[in-house]
């Protein structure tokens, strides 16, 4: 088990080093940092002085190692746009994205799992087949389109929910949360729904397929022979056996959600990391882009590593292995 963990963590570090390498390439070679930073009227002497101060004259490997060392400590330098520390900028935006992604994940599980169970046990009935068919729509619709439709319906036409922004936020230390105020809670509904629609259908289709398979298993038949009622059969015996792939999917998808959040945040003017990144792209703010790349990858890799550990928690057969 420990050897396995060490191997997994080793893999994770290797992946992160590779990602950092690409982030570094962007950082170092996409345009000339000095040209971006200095005033147009700066003299060659001033430019050379800045170049050596930034360490741009050092060898490639030295610069890369310096980049990795700094990145590991959360040092991504200053934003070229507003001279603020990049990590502070991202830190300010991270809670908004995180809350959005968490709510979207909870929604996708809370809606997707029951729907999956119902479409499996109702197979052949019109309502189950109808749901299954309409899930194709959910998988196919692009995220920005769903967002626009939601805004049009619930914000513009019905006026029930706000269509942009994050509402009022409360500051808890460095963390800003919108979940504690009524306007913040109202504001998160539409973007979270828009972000999770794809996940809901994904979870639903996965749970349905798994359930159909598990319901044919011998232990389900034996549980019926013991007198286990249908409800317990579905939601206790069968569902628990379906959860393994759902955990994998969810953990992987949290990474995807953060990436998809870029689109949703833009549509809903949600002040998260995705919007920060979009602004950084517009202004060619390379330190912010490099930092975003590293941080999102870090979340991805960490989640994947935790999935392996979660397996062992759910399935007793893996605990000893």
């Amino acid at each position: 088990m420990i050897a396995f963990l060490v191997k997994r963590v080793g893999n994770a570090i290797l992946v992160m080093l590779t990602v950092a390498f690409f982030a570094f390439l962007i950082f170092r070679f996409l345009g000339d940092p000095v040209e971006m930073m200095v005033n147009e009227s700066a003299t060659q002497v001033e430019r050379d002085e800045l170049r050596s101060r930034l360490g741009l004259n050092d060898g490639f490997l030295v610069q890369y190692l310096r980049f990795v060392t700094n990145a590991a400590q959360g040092q991504f330098g200053l934003s070229w746009r507003n001279q603020q520390n990049v990590i502070t900028l991202i830190g300010e935006r991270f809670p908004a994205t995180f809350e959005l992604v968490i709510i979207a994940t909870i929604l996708s599980l809370a809606i997707g799992i029951p729907l999956g169970v119902f479409t499996a046990i109702g197979r052949g009935r019109w309502w189950a087949e109808g749901l299954q068919f309409s899930s194709i729509v959910g998988v196919s619709l692009p995220s920005f389109f769903v967002g626009i439709i939601l805004i049009l319906a619930f914000s513009v036409s019905l006026g029930w929910l706000p269509g942009y922004g994050r509402g009022e936020v409360v500051q808890l230390g460095w963390w800003s949360t919108g979940l504690l105020t009524p306007s913040g809670r109202a504001a998160i509904v539409l973007p979270a729904l828009s972000l999770s629609l794809f996940q809901i259908t994904l979870v639903m289709r996965l749970v349905r397929a798994e359930m159909l398979e598990i319901l044919r298993a011998d232990f389900i038949k034996f549980a019926r022979a013991r007198g286990v009622k249908r409800r317990a059969l579905w939601f206790r015996h069968a569902l628990k056996n379906c959860l393994m792939p759902v955990v994998t999917l969810t953990a992987m998808q949290v990474g995807n959600l953060i990436a998809f959040a870029l689109v949703t945040e833009t549509v809903f003017q949600w002040p998260g990391m995705g919007m920060l990144f979009m602004q950084a792209v517009t202004f060619v703010d390379i330190p912010v882009m490099a930092a975003y790349l590293c941080i999102v990858s870090f979340i991805f890799v960490t989640l994947n590593t935790f999935v392996d550990i979660a397996y062992a928690v759910i399935d007793p057969r893996l605990r000893a292995a």
């Binding site: 298993a217 011998d218 232990f219 038949k221 034996f222 549980a223 019926r224 022979a225 013991r226 007198g227 286990v228 009622k229 249908r230 317990a232 015996h237 628990k240 056996n241 759910i314 399935d315 007793p316 057969r317």
Partner: protein, 333 residues
């Protein structure tokens, strides 16, 4: 329908099946999987049910449990468990019968247990489904059941998961689960087939002991004549969805009346006897969509006459058992 075989109608019967037919509607027409099956099991008695694959042994067990795979359905006949008629119950009513009046043991103990729940959780769940015991009382009863089926260290083993048990121990757990609701009848569908030969004898001995102690009737479905000889009190031989012979195990094994039963007995190798080639019955059991008219066995039967191709034999009393064969009922010509 003329039934010449009249078992005593009594509450002492753990199982009373009369004229049971099971049908599968398919696109090409209705297949009759079981046809006019009648058999009884007394409390504390083990009835072995033998036959080739597809003869309807397991199907009979599943019909009694109310676990026929759709679209299979009971087309006619009656099933009584402990005197109560069960073939006409709803799914919800049948669910409360399963476990409390009729238990089941299936072939593969590895796949019979839910891998994600400890054996204790599964036992306690079953016990509480069929009684009003508290969780702690149910746990005590679960430990007691595990001891009864011979699991050493039951107090610790109760919290273990199925994968931590060996095959034989797992089947003991399955037996404990089948007994958890104190049923009057247990359907044991090939309970030893997936086990090592050395373990098989232990499990059949355990089954026999427990059914005597608890007064539970057992329907032991198997294709293994050795298991029948060691375990069963009576035996029913099935062929092509029909019971063709039923009687006390010594009588059926030593003096089989039906030509098919004789063929089955002839195909068992005797220990120590040197034979070049085992005796076999020529041909194969007919498929459900091509069962011959008259006696289903007539194309393979060495004693068949013209009447066998036209008249369907019914069960007639013969010795201490009954047999469905025209040889014993008016002759083959």
């Amino acid at each position: 329908m003329s039934i010449s075989y009249h078992p005593p109608a009594s509450d002492a019967l753990a199982l009373d099946v009369r004229g049971l037919s099971v049908e599968f509607p398919t696109r090409k027409g209705v297949l009759t999987a079981l046809s006019e099956v009648s058999l009884t099991i007394r409390r504390g008695e083990i009835l072995g049910v033998v036959g080739e694959s597809g003869a309807g042994k397991s199907m009979t067990g599943m019909a009694v449990l109310g676990l026929l795979e759709p679209p299979g359905r009971v087309a006619s006949g009656e099933i009584r468990i402990g005197g109560r008629r069960t073939d006409n119950l709803s799914e919800a009513e049948m669910a409360s019968i399963r476990g409390s009046m009729v238990g089941a043991i299936f072939q593969d103990p590895l796949t019979s247990l839910n891998p994600l729940f400890s054996v204790g959780q599964q036992l306690i769940e079953t016990i509480r489904l069929h009684s009003s015991l508290s969780r702690a009382e149910a746990r005590a009863r679960a430990v007691e059941l595990l001891k009864q089926v011979g699991i050493p260290g039951a107090e610790e083993r109760i919290d273990h998961y199925p994968h931590q048990f060996s095959g034989g121990m797992r089947q003991r757990v399955v037996i404990a689960l089948a007994l958890a609701g104190n049923p009057q009848l247990i359907i044991a569908d090939e309970p030893t087939t997936a086990l090592d030969v050395s373990i098989q004898a232990q499990i059949t001995a355990l089954l026999r002991k427990l059914c005597r102690e608890h007064g539970t009737g057992v329907m032991l479905v198997t294709h293994d004549m050795g298991v029948i000889a060691e375990t069963a009190d009576r035996v029913a031989v099935m062929y092509a969805g029909r019971v063709i012979e039923i009687g006390p195990v010594e009588e059926v094994l030593s003096r089989p009346k039906h030509p098919y039963t004789r063929g089955l007995m002839g195909s068992i190798p005797a220990l120590g006897a040197r034979v070049e080639r085992l005796a076999q019955i020529d041909g194969a059991m007919p498929r459900l969509n091509a069962i011959p008219t008259g006696c289903a066995f007539n194309p393979r039967c060495l004693e068949a006459g013209s009447r066998c191709r036209n008249v369907r034999p019914v069960m007639v009393a013969e010795g201490q058992g009954s047999v469905a064969c025209l040889v014993h009922d008016g002759g083959v010509q």
